[in-house]
């Protein structure tokens, strides 16, 4: 038996999957609480211990890991104009699997600089100016950063005519810098891939150690990427396929977690209706949005504030007279797994509400405008109405018997016709909880990874 061991150091749980590479099957799954505050390997060993003895002995063809432990990859994005280079930088960081804790634009103020020091991100992405465009602001921001207490790696991805000077300023001040291609070389042109790759490199080389995860590398070959990147890679693989394996085509994926709810969409998302004009910064083909306020454990109480009691009750099937108290308990006890029918129903209603809100934010929208020639429609963001596949992943989709109904709640609604959410996609859930593992395997064994992903997708249609 040729085995691969795939590990996700999650914010709440460390999950281990063992895949038989010859049979292309998941042969074991185990999880234990992540122990990053003390020693990451403790939780890992506990989870390993739960594997059947025939498997935990190995040998393993490969042992690969991803991580969103210790707060995930926390990034700050800086650009010039909020809707242009700052937004391009933000989207690039999101696509690299980061949690973007703040985005700044224009010249940094002393107050912002102090806030930035306080935030203490893992990586700072410094953009601004198209190639040959504005160079003063990125250079001035570099001067300000050079005087700050910021110690994290700074990825410079702005106006190419300014990056050398920016680098010299920061380097002279002892900052840790890397230069990538401009994230927005021209107005409304996104160039995210080179910077995403560089962020991944920084993650492997520096962040893993900085976050106290390095000890785990005595056991695994490497913590290769943040967990959301692994999931995004799995989504791209499923969508685009491989040399010999056909992909699904355009798809959307919802990843509901304890700390965040992520939505990924793979596809151009161009307008599908005649007469609609797309405006704004173009969307990356593989787009990820992360909602740090919609995790169904850490943010359970907040979701009630955001979505309102009415929506949660509407999504539930049973009465929940002590709704607020119960959700408070979810927030306090983030490792909570529902045992009774009532808690399971509440968990479902909470997940459905979070997923609805996350999809609303991810999907594009249409605005109707009146001009002298009549009515016009402007689209901002992606049109997902034509998406033929929608996938759900996360613990809730395994443990809850009505999992597919969560996905249904996120679909297009005639009551909100301008929100371009998927209309009639085939619904799938990640029944093996294996998409992170598929993303980890995708580089080395793409064909096998695609087949495993398809095998463990449960089709609800």
């Amino acid at each position: 038996m040729s085995l691969a061991l795939l590990i996700d150091f999650g914010s709440t749980f460390t999950k281990i999957l063992a895949v038989d590479l010859a049979a292309e099957e998941i042969v074991a799954y185990a999880q234990s609480c992540t122990t990053v505050e003390t020693n990451i390997t403790v939780g890992l060993l506990r989870a390993l211990d739960l594997l059947p003895s025939s498997i935990k002995e190995g040998p393993f063809e490969c042992k690969l890991a991803c991580s969103s432990a210790a707060g995930g990859l926390r990034m700050v994005a800086i650009g010039l104009i909020p809707e242009l280079s700052a937004e391009a930088a933000r989207r690039t960081a999101l696509g690299a699997g980061a949690k973007v804790v703040r985005t700044y634009s224009f010249r940094l103020s002393a107050k912002e600089l102090a806030e930035l020091e306080e935030l203490s991100p893992d990586i700072l992405l410094l953009a601004g100016g198209t190639d040959g465009g504005n160079h003063e602001v990125i250079i001035e921001n570099a001067r300000k950063l050079s005087t700050s207490r910021i110690l994290c790696p700074i990825v410079i991805a702005g106006n190419k005519a300014a990056v050398d000077e920016v680098n010299d300023i920061l380097f002279a001040a002892g900052k840790n810098t890397l230069i990538a291609d401009n994230v927005m070389p021209e107005v409304n042109v996104l160039n995210v891939e080179p910077t995403r790759e560089m962020i991944r490199k920084v993650f492997i080389e520096r962040i893993v150690e900085a976050k106290g995860l390095k000890k785990a590398e005595d056991f695994v070959e490497g913590i290769l990427m943040p967990t959301p990147t692994a999931v995004l890679r799995a989504a791209v693989l499923l969508s685009r396929g491989t040399a010999s394996g056909k992909g699904f085509g355009d798809l959307a994926l919802i990843d509901i977690g304890g700390a965040t709810t992520d939505v990924h969409s793979i596809g151009a998302g161009a307008p599908l209706q005649a007469g609609v004009v797309q405006k704004g910064l173009p969307e990356p083909l593989a787009k990820r949005t992360v909602e740090g306020d919609l995790g169904i454990r850490y943010n359970a109480a907040f979701i009630l504030n955001l979505c309102g009691q009415e929506r949660i009750v509407k999504n539930a099937h049973l009465p929940h007279p002590d709704l607020a108290q119960k959700l408070q308990n979810f927030s306090k006890n983030v490792g909570f797994l529902p045992q009774c029918e009532e808690d399971q129903d509440l968990d479902f209603a909470l997940a459905a509400s979070a997923a609805q809100a996350a999809m609303e934010r991810h999907a594009g929208a249409i605005e109707a405008l009146w001009g002298p020639q009549g009515q016009f429609y402007i689209q901002r963001g992606k049109d997902l109405t034509g998406m033929e596949h929608l996938i759900g992943t996360g613990g809730i989709f395994i443990h809850n018997p009505r999992a597919s109904a969560i996905l249904q709640k996120t679909l297009f609604s005639p009551e909100e016709p301008f929100s371009l959410r998927p209309k009639n996609p085939a619904l799938y859930t990640d029944s093996g909880y294996c998409l992170f593992a598929v993303g980890l395997l995708a580089d080395r064994f793409p064909e096998l990874a695609l087949r495993v992903a398809k095998k463990y997708l449960k089709n609800w249609n």
Binding site: H135, N159, A161, A162, E186, V187, V277, P372, F376
Partner: protein
């Protein structure tokens, strides 16, 4: 010296709820052929879209097209918004079917000069004329 530009940069677009795209494409082509770096933000552009693009690209001029006859309404406050955004100095050009109804060109031109445009063109102006003027105006700056 950082930021020395090889070409003059102009932001080109059609202002307001206006779908007229043909003249915009012709103008972009004419400018590019004459060596300008054209940042074409296309139709349905707001004054803010022009300003954002001009700051990000360090543009030398803005070429505002308005074909639907609502130019006067749409251009109101354009200069003030530019000044507010630190672009008070930028060379501003406007042209197209700026107004409807019977008005003399002199009146229309005067009104748009007063709104802060450096050049105002009537309907049917040749792209060549606009490009020549622009070259001259930017050289003088």
């Amino acid at each position: 010296m950082t930021g020395k530009k090889e070409k003059k940069t102009v932001v080109l677009g059609v202002l307001g709820v206006d779908a007229h795209v043909v003249g915009n494409k012709i103008m972009a082509h004419a400018l590019e052929r004459e060596g300008f770096k054209v940042v074409n933000i296309g139709t349905f552009s707001s004054p803010e879209d022009f300003i954002r693009a001009a700051i990000e690209t360090d543009a030398d001029a803005m070429l505002v097209g308005s074909l639907c006859g609502h130019g006067e309404l749409e251009c109101r406050g354009f200069r003030q918004k530019c000044i507010e955004a630190g672009l008070g100095h930028i060379h501003r050009v406007v042209g197209g079917n700026l107004v409807v109804g019977k008005q003399t060109w002199e009146e229309v031109e005067k009104r748009f000069f007063e709104m802060g445009f450096n050049r105002v063109y009537p309907p049917g102006v040749s792209p060549k004329k606009v490009v020549e003027d622009l070259k001259k105006d930017l050289k003088e700056q």
